[in-house]
């Protein structure tokens, strides 16, 4: 079955070091192994630059208050959020998600870099609380 599938693939030739070539020859199914290794490597993109090679640390996507249906931000909350955005930039975070707290005023937040959650916590009044992740 696999040998039939080989005819559907494109041949690619590349040079490798001698020791690696010896190891590859010992493998029972070289094509499947190399293809799997390449797909795995290509699928691993840097969470900071998203595979672009350029970090966009200046841009932290903060939740839009209207879209997220968040309550208006008062002066104290704005000052807290401003500091949090500054921290997000220093941590090269890519996203700052905000959500309204259910039973008390203020916001819950989570700070992300790609898929990784860097920090969680809450903003309430004139204080910011961080929770261990």
């Amino acid at each position: 079955m696999y040998s039939k599938m080989l005819y559907m693939k494109t041949r690619v030739t590349f040079r490798v070091a001698k020791d690696l070539a010896r190891s590859l020859r010992d493998l029972p199914n070289q094509t499947a192994f190399v293809e799997g290794a390449l797909r795995s490597a290509l699928g691993k993109t840097c969470p900071t630059c998203d595979g672009s090679g350029r970090t966009q640390w200046m841009t932290v996507a903060v939740s839009d208050f209207k879209e997220a249906k968040l309550p208006r931000l008062d002066r104290d909350g704005a000052v807290q959020l401003k500091s949090l955005v500054r921290l997000a930039r220093e941590l090269a975070a890519s996203k700052l998600d905000l959500a309204a707290r259910r039973h008390s005023p203020g916001f819950e937040f989570s700070l992300h870099r790609g898929r990784e959650v860097l920090l969680r916590g809450s903003l309430a009044g004139n204080s910011t609380t961080f929770r261990p992740n």
Binding site: V62, D64, L73, A78, L81, K82, L84, V85, R89
Partner: protein, 117 residues
Amino acid sequence: MAYVITRLCRDCVDTSCVSVCPEPECIVEHRPLEGVSALPNQLFINPDQCICCSACQPECPWEAIFDEDEVPAAFAADITLNAISGMRPEEFVQAGIHTKPAPSADEVEANKRRWQT
């Protein structure tokens, strides 16, 4: 939908809004790379950066900031003017904070009458 700084800010340019805005590149001034600014002397909100938190609105002593949905008809053109900062961000810089004396209620009303006619 973002917030909009209307012409009520022109030549007043109070930066109280900048001091509370959580987004560093949201409230900006026009500083073209070459020549003098052809835009009015006021602050602008970059709609691509605005997170609609509304913190800036009550801070403006000239009452110049509106939700885009609530901009008075007389100032509707200012929505486009603010949008320029999103279309040509390279011409705009983060607004600095300059302390100014707060205007009196009479001055605020006089400024509104000046622009609403």
